[in-house]
């Protein structure tokens, strides 16, 4: 699985690479994907084989780690509909595969979930779950729990109604589907549903918290990572922002968007829900990772999860009940004043509410949030969460005419600008128990890569301007960095090779929403191109170039 374990920690127990020898880290081998779009995938290593997915046209490559030079074993291309290119909102990324029981499972941009034979790359089954012609797409990494492969959809910007689906690992047949909006029957909400907060209790809130029928196009897509607690037998995932209506047209909390569900995997039945951003105004998808950890509190062991949200708060929840134990800002926030732990609701700042025809300046975080999809890592050794994230604010005004499919409309002009400190990105270490930031590293661009923590006390992340970096897990001190041909927005992983050596692997290949300025060669003179990202990213095309590679590093001369 992409996150290394069900808890979503992205922690490697390997410790050959340490603070004192990481300087000897060097490229062991590489593979160029020959694709120019954003590479957000995590390499997955199972039984001496490394598997990695690519952006559209959605290839899977397998490499034999037991042979010198780790040669390619097989590759597969999904040959999707070319049309899917125009339909996906934010570059044509793929966030990785799941490998389980001798099968490789992955999603394609044009809504197929495909199972391959892990040994040969032969297609075992291929099911179509959505319709590109209606704006649906899929980008997330599946998760396998028991005999189910769990997948979700993307496309909230196009009026898609979000869902999480469970397919049989045997043949891809649909076991259950839980919608993020609509009646309880569609959301798989039944007698087991026990949300912690009063506002989430009642019948059919997925309909009643919307004006009539608007939930049918309500968004709440499921495109982030899923985590799972086998002991409680609960899976956890976030739902995307509500859409595609103007907020004035979707009065209400817009459940179950921009929140987190806990569900039973066998039936899909919901156990609890909590909404990070009721009636979201800022495109604050709630899909960011939920990292599971346990801690002693008040004389007993508590089962917790930590979640850095797009809205700027770092939440710690009791993962049995959905109670919010703490919610503190990890980034600069002007759109709200804090989270009321009694009601669970954020206290919103009316002065930053966008309205048609009104310029709202300095709304922080901007639409990509204090942190977008880029997954953080948790080290049980330090007890810290390592968070790659953004430092972005936005100026928004709804004015300019634009043009889609024959129809002029009044589009929003949004401009993202770096927040305080003028650096658009940050990599920080956060103590979830004290709710305090321990250290931080400013980066010029949003840190759009995932993080990796290791037992060697070294933490890895990549930057969009093309560096792969290793820092001290305790202090944040920069220990090592390597230049890469293209910026990094992938998910670093560590593994032990058949030769017994510890390796670190990551994909480079800039892109994604923040990297469109490079892969699409956007006009950096137009502040609103790339949905507002060009101001913050205007120097990136000079710093790096497009092009995907799998990079595998090891210590020179061994450990």
């Amino acid at each position: 699985m992409s996150a290394g374990d069900y808890a979503g920690t992205r922690f490697s127990p390997l410790d050959q690479i340490r603070r004192d020898n990481v300087k000897r880290l060097a490229l062991a081998w590489r593979f160029d994907t020959e694709l120019g779009r954003g590479h957000e995938s995590a390499p997955i290593i199972v039984d001496g084989t490394l598997y990695v997915t690519t952006p559209f046209p959605n290839r899977v490559h397998a490499f034999d780690l037991s042979r010198p030079g780790s040669p390619p074993k097989w590759s597969y291309e999904a040959r999707g509909e070319e049309r899917a290119r125009g339909v996906a909102c934010c570059d044509v990324v793929n966030r990785g595969a799941a490998v389980s029981g001798g099968k490789v499972f992955f999603n394609t941009l044009d809504n197929h979930t495909i199972a391959l034979d892990a040994g040969s790359g032969r297609e075992l089954w291929n099911v179509k779950l959505g319709e590109v012609n209606r704006g649906e797409s899929m980008t997330m990494a599946p998760l396998v729990i028991k005999d189910l492969v769990l997948v979700g959809n993307s496309g909230g910007e196009f009026g898609v109604r979000g869902w999480l689906s469970a397919l049989s690992v045997q043949d891809g047949s649909l076991r259950w589907r839980a919608y993020s909006t609509g009646p309880d029957a569609d959301a798989l909400i039944g007698p087991w549903f026990k949300p912690f907060y009063a506002q989430d209790r009642g019948g059919d809130l997925g309909m009643k918290s919307w004006p009539p029928d608007k939930w049918k196009q309500g968004g709440g897509t499921v495109w982030g990572f899923i985590s799972y607690d086998a002991q409680l037998d609960l899976l956890y995932y976030g739902t995307g922002n509500p859409g595609p209506w103007n907020p004035e047209q979707r009065v209400g909390d817009n459940k179950w968007t921009a929140g987190i569900f806990a569900r039973k995997p066998d039936s899909g039945q919901a156990a609890w829900f909590y909404q990070w951003s009721p009636h979201d105004l800022y495109d604050y998808d709630g899909v960011n990772e939920n990292v599971l950890f346990d801690a002693q509190q008040g004389g007993r062991r508590r089962h917790l999860l930590v979640h850095p949200d797009r809205n700027g708060y770092m939440y710690v929840l009791d993962r049995e009940t959905g109670e919010v134990l703490s919610a503190e800002p990890f980034a600069h926030i002007t759109t709200s004043y804090g989270v009321d732990l009694k009601s669970g609701r954020p206290r919103m700042n009316p002065a930053k509410e966008p309205h048609v025809g009104r310029l709202v300046q300095d709304a922080c975080p901007a639409a990509p949030g204090a942190k977008d999809w880029q997954p953080s890592a948790f080290s049980p050794k330090t007890g810290l969460l390592y968070v790659p994230h953004n430092n972005l604010c936005q100026d928004a005004e709804a004015q300019e005419a634009n043009y889609i499919a024959g129809t002029p409309y009044v589009g929003a002009t949004t401009k993202f600008i770096p927040g305080p400190g003028k650096a658009a990105g940050e990599f920080c270490a956060w103590n979830p128990l004290t709710a305090k930031k321990i250290w931080k590293i400013a980066e010029k661009y949003p840190v759009w890569s995932g993080a990796l923590a290791t037992a060697g006390g070294v933490v890895f992340y990549g930057t969009m301007d093309g560096y792969f970096k290793a820092v001290d897990a305790q202090s944040g001190e920069m220990l090592w960095k390597a230049r890469t041909d293209s910026g990094i927005i992938g998910q670093p992983v560590s593994f032990q090779g058949p030769d017994g050596k510890q390796y670190v692997a990551v994909t480079s290949g800039v892109g994604g929403w923040a990297g469109l300025v490079v892969v699409n060669k956007l006009d950096v003179g137009d502040p609103t191109a790339g949905s507002g990202f060009t101001v913050a990213m205007k120097e990136l095309p000079q710093a790096t170039r497009a092009g995907g590679s799998l990079l595998v590093y090891a210590l020179e001369d061994g450990p």
Partner: protein
């Protein structure tokens, strides 16, 4: 061997100028292959007809690059050099350079003629109870002007949305909002004129079309449409402007045939 090379070279030398002399200059147009009444791959849209008129007028061969008109279409096609002209864009669009407008259209209120509604204003009290369809774009704060006009009046519960992109698998992808009017699922739709005009001409059920007001507060509901070229393509822009001036009567007749509402 040597001789073969020589003759081959000679052949190429003869062929070269021959081909370029026989080949007319090309008019390279980017268009959506499935977006009637504007364009489609069978060239049944009015933008197809206008492109043909332009090609004929300037004695050029018409070449199409087909690309769905989604976000990024202009960037991926015109700006990437796959074509030189986009036939229909609002002249207020600052992504590219636009000609002078060759028509202006408006959003229209559409209802079944047999209902006799005759709605002409967003302040019509009946808008609070009629079932109203609007076209949705997708991004927050980026919706069509009628959505803003209704939201500003807190007309919410009776408003239904239809994707402006519609179902691309259908022949008239965006027509769902209009078939909902003819089927009586909604009482009134507020739709961009050219789509409504075209649909009304083909509809078995008589529809009434009435233009909306030109503006609502600061929000315009009328848009001038011209042709688009790359910002630095100044010479072509001048040629296109001259064509529009010269052939405006023909363009007017073409638009009238497609029922484009022109207030």
């Amino acid at each position: 061997m040597m001789q073969r090379w020589v003759s081959l070279l000679l052949g190429l030398a003869l062929l070269g100028p021959c081909v370029s002399a026989a080949e007319p200059a090309r008019l390279r147009v980017c268009a959506d292959p499935n977006n009637l009444p504007f364009s489609d791959r069978e060239r049944r849209g009015f933008e197809n007809e206008l492109a043909s008129l332009l090609a004929k007028d300037t004695a050029k061969r018409l070449d199409y690059t087909w690309w769905a008109q989604r976000r990024g279409a202009i960037r991926s096609t015109l700006k990437a050099g796959l074509c030189d002209v986009v036939i229909g864009v609002p002249t207020s669009l600052d992504l590219l350079a636009t000609t002078k407008p060759y028509y202006t259209s408006t959003y229209v209120f559409v209802s079944r003629a047999d209902r006799g509604l005759d709605v002409r204003s967003f302040d019509d009290a009946r808008l609070r109870s009629l079932r109203i369809g609007v076209q949705l774009v997708g991004d927050d704060y980026a919706n069509t002007p009628p959505v803003s006009a209704l939201s500003a009046r807190h007309i919410v519960d009776n408003v239904r949305g239809y994707s402006v992109l519609g179902d691309y698998g259908h022949e008239l992808p965006a027509a769902g909002i209009l078939s909902a009017v003819t089927a009586g699922e909604i009482d009134l739709a507020v739709v961009w004129g050219p789509l409504a005009g075209y649909y009304a001409r083909k509809s078995a059920v008589a529809l009434q079309l009435a233009p909306t007001p030109a503006v609502d507060g600061e929000i315009p509901l009328r848009f001038a449409i011209g042709m688009g070229v790359r910002r630095d393509d100044v010479a072509r822009l001048a040629q296109l402007n001259a064509f529009i001036t010269r052939r405006q009567p023909d363009i007017d007749a073409l638009l009238a045939r497609y029922g484009v509402p022109r207030p």
